[in-house]
Symmetry: C2
Subunit: 564 residues, 2 copies
């Protein structure tokens, strides 16, 4: 099959020029760029006035954060020109281990959006995490045999790197021995510690939130991933990286992207748009989102409109709004005049389907399970700050005479983290301030990084009801007086839906809206906070299945200052 | 072993800045760059006022062209700051096949100048070449298992690529499947032919002699190798490639470098010097000769002064003359204050030593072997042009009444190409005009690409004498009336000496001088021409072991226009 894309303005990411040229596609590859007007082909597509760029690549994303299957994510991203992503299946790996990674591989096989996989390096994320799996170096090693596995994913455990943790170093050694790139994750690490971390071969960073940090890391050899996702939005702070020579060591990523944002704002095209609005050269920005991502991950023949390259091509109306009209993926015309062409979902073998669809191993809970039985006067309460992932450790008197310590007048609610992978029955139980619920409860199985069930509520009954509901279908629920106000089921590992992106975005919007029926003020987004309330790497006080963790000192602390 | 390089001006190839910093070396790697003044180390070297740059890398060189062993070449190059080369053992492979490649691997094992190998893709070079070996795809494949084999060397056979030669395509396919870069060699190829050639995965070109050619190839995705060697000197024509954005897809190479030039002018340091004299930014030029060469060949952790990188470091007095004072190779201090530290030659196993040292398989020749017995009136004579590799096909009357057709008055000499690999006894015999000998003969075993023995002379006796002499020790000889006027023995495959670079340069100078005793005017360099007189890819008329070849039509042509 030969297709000629005729007379477009072709963006050359090597010379950073825009040249009027024809592009000859033969089957899955580009075979020529130049004057091919008289060349015999099966199909000619006239692109006069349009722009032809390489398919966009997201250099670092967690597919699970879209709450969609790779198939459904691809359906949302392709119309925005994304033809490849480098995905870290960290979330599902925390739930389902090696089989989670294999599920993601099978569930993304032969998609028109190529899914490259980096192997999750930190499962579980911390020693306080009761995760569904422990991925040692030994368990990861065989996974490098998959052709789409390109490297080792973000090494968040920088203390483990710096202090010589044996398994951490084995993972790094394995990746280096196989010449596989190692992604980093080390916010604010600097100076000698940064040197020691990078010296182990950690070649990227996507956590830079200011330009000094980015320049230091870049100067030490790391590729800087300019991140503009749903949660973290670092683009404006990192705009200087779009200029030479920094731009030649920087790539564009989203990290986390909710379906509603994919629909409303787009994906990597959105990052390009913002960069151009920020005054940066479009062609150079495109280079950072195509050729250079491929180079960073040593993926040959991807990321350029040039002979021999994979025919991943995006046709745009312009280089300001980046409106996509057509997309080719490995030579297949997958978006035509802005409309996605149907394609079949990948087949996943039964064993893996069963594994990811039966990830809740818990008993049925009763209100009794959510009654704090310990006693004390001054209680350690997690202080939530609006719009922040950081929490405070507050010590407050708690009144047990009514509602087992819940005090709506002071916005003190109960929080529970329920181990759900191995049926241990472990429940971390305590109090949180600042979530704004006046009644009912919310619960979710999206709780970083182990994705146990986390619930916040005003009554033990509603906590039990919400948790039981989540344990059935996964996802997010909002309940009140034994009734479900809204829910977004995420049956795949408790993380992903099988539904279409639009439907998941709708459900998510309804869930977010429903919390306000519980009295939460419009200024708060309790699910955003909830998902991070058990992540014991972000300060200060967090709740885990084992109880409260003080992040700074990395120790479990009792609920009461003077526990009786 | 920890060494601190203190207080130097460190060239950062990522940010293109020069920063005053300490460099911490631990064993073979760089572990830190910054303020390490108080760090406990075994040795501190104060570099105040000096410049610290990554070790230089020659991205494309034929070690055989230095006529030195890798060991002796390293001894000449290290003091010029070269810590790595990407070598194509094309010449020795034409003589000794796979064992020639293995000899080069063993003879360069653990040198302080790291030798990466690209596998020779075109052995023999043409169908008229009676070479010592035929390297099929099948024979090359196992060689990729050597860790220092980084790719497939220059694919000169572009007709084979374009017209679908099966073995050529198998070689390309193998390299692509292993994710090994493929070097190109396609002078003046352009347009659709160039597209078709590059589309097979050919990712570099070192044959660009003008900027338009270079820009076209770069725009199609090739890395452009700016070549400045002994024979081809393209730097001044390609100076625009030292500017953005081209500089980020260009690297520096020498291709061929004679020992006298290595001694007098230097190696990659010479290319840097010329670029800076040409007005180009030194730091960017350094980037093109370090980090980018490593990236082009996907060699990780090489080419930068940064944490985790191999401690290949060059200390310079300045960034204009590039005077090297110290060199570190994998953390070893191999050049101290401009003086090379002794190191041992690599051990090569006996079987390979024997193979490369017994590469002449010929009988003893007599004058009779060099008598033209065919008869005719108008003879095809190779017309040599001063300073050119191109020859002309001249049809001239030849007078057989004296000296069997040699005619000093018209500068018509006899030329012979003697098959020397398989004892076939094939001798191509004919006439050449423009070499300038008035008497005697010259002969050499350096004759591209098969390296048969090639001789030019005024008498059949001296031709036989010269050829027999070459067959004994290899190399170049100049003889007159049965006496050796000068010789440079090259016993290793007829291509390389075992002597030191200085000695080989001296011998070579003597041989070049001696030709003038045969009456050759000072303006001619007959050995330069001789080495290419049997290479049937450069127009127009060439002599092979099978007789005359007309390059344009790729056919054997008879010596006489109307042969009787």
């Amino acid at each position: 099959m030969k297709i000629l894309l005729k007379n477009g303005n072709v963006v050359n990411v090597f010379t950073e020029e825009i040249v009027k040229a024809d592009v000859l596609i033969e089957d899955s590859r580009i075979m020529g760029v130049g004057d091919y007007a008289d060349y015999p082909v099966n199909e000619v597509i006239d692109l006069t006035g349009k722009y032809v760029i390489p398919g966009l690549i997201d250099g670092h994303v967690h597919i699970e954060s879209t709450m969609l299957t790779p198939y459904e994510m691809a359906k949302l991203c392709l119309p925005h020109g994304t033809t490849a992503v480098v995905a870290d299946p960290h979330e599902i790996a925390n739930v389902c281990g090696v089989q989670g990674v294999e599920y993601m591989l099978q569930a993304s096989e032969n998609l028109p959006m190529q899914v490259y996989i980096n192997l999750p390096s930190c499962v579980p994320a911390t020693r306080f995490d009761e995760s569904g799996a422990v991925l040692t170096a030994e368990k990861l090693r065989p996974l490098y045999a998959y052709s789409r596995v390109v490297g080792l994913a973000e090494m968040m455990n920088y203390p483990g790197v710096l202090f010589g943790d044996q398994d951490v170093h084995q993972k790094l050694k394995d990746a280096r021995a196989l010449n596989k790139p190692i992604d980093g994750h080390a916010p604010f690490l600097t100076g000698r510690d940064l040197d020691a971390y990078i010296a182990q071969g950690v070649q990227t960073d996507h956590e830079c939130s200011n330009i000094e940090e980015a320049k230091e890391k870049l100067s030490k050899g790391q590729w800087i991933m300019v991140r503009q996702g749903t949660a973290a939005r670092n683009l404006s702070a990192l705009l200087p990286l779009f200029d030479p020579p920094y731009c030649y060591r920087a790539v564009l990523v989203t990290d986390d992207r909710h379906p509603a944002d994919l629909i409303a704002e787009g994906h990597i095209d959105n990052v390009l748009r913002l960069a151009v609005r920020g005054g940066k050269a479009p062609v150079r920005a495109i280079r950072m989102a195509t050729l250079q991502v491929a180079e960073c991950f040593r993926i040959p023949f991807v990321g350029a409109v040039a002979p021999g390259y994979s025919a991943d091509i995006v046709v745009l109306e312009d280089l300001t709004d980046f409106k996509v009209t057509d997309v080719f993926s490995k030579g297949n015309h997958v978006v035509k005049n802005g409309k996605l062409v149907d394609f079949a979902p990948p087949k996943v073998e039964d064993a893996l389907q069963n594994k990811v669809r039966s990830s809740f191993h818990v008993k049925t809970f009763t209100a009794e399970d959510f009654i704090v039985k310990k006693k004390g006067e001054n209680c350690r309460v997690i202080g939530v700050l609006p719009g922040e992932l950081i929490t405070e450790e507050r010590v407050l008197p708690v009144d047990f005479s009514k509602e087992n310590g819940v005090d709506i007048s002071r916005d003190i609610l109960k929080i529970a983290v329920i181990e759900r992978h191995n049926g241990t029955g472990h429940i971390g139980l305590g109090y949180v301030q600042g979530m704004g619920l006046k009644t009912g409860a919310i619960a979710t199985s999206v709780s970083h990084d182990s994705h146990n069930i986390i619930a916040v509520g005003a009554s033990a009954e509603d906590l039990a009801f919400a948790v039981n509901r989540v344990a059935k279908n996964g996802g997010n629920v909002v309940v009140k007086s034994g009734e479900v106000l809204a829910e977004m089921p995420l049956p795949i590992a408790g993380l992903m839906s099988e539904k279409e992106g639009e439907r998941v975005a709708e459900e998510n919007a309804k869930v977010r809206a429903a919390v306000h029926e519980l009295g939460v003020p419009a200024s708060l987004e309790p699910f955003m906070n909830t998902a991070f309330l058990s992540l014991s790497v972000i300060p200060s006080l967090k709740m885990t299945t084992l109880g409260l963790v003080r992040v700074e000192t990395q120790e479990l602390v009792p609920l009461f200052v003077n526990e009786k």
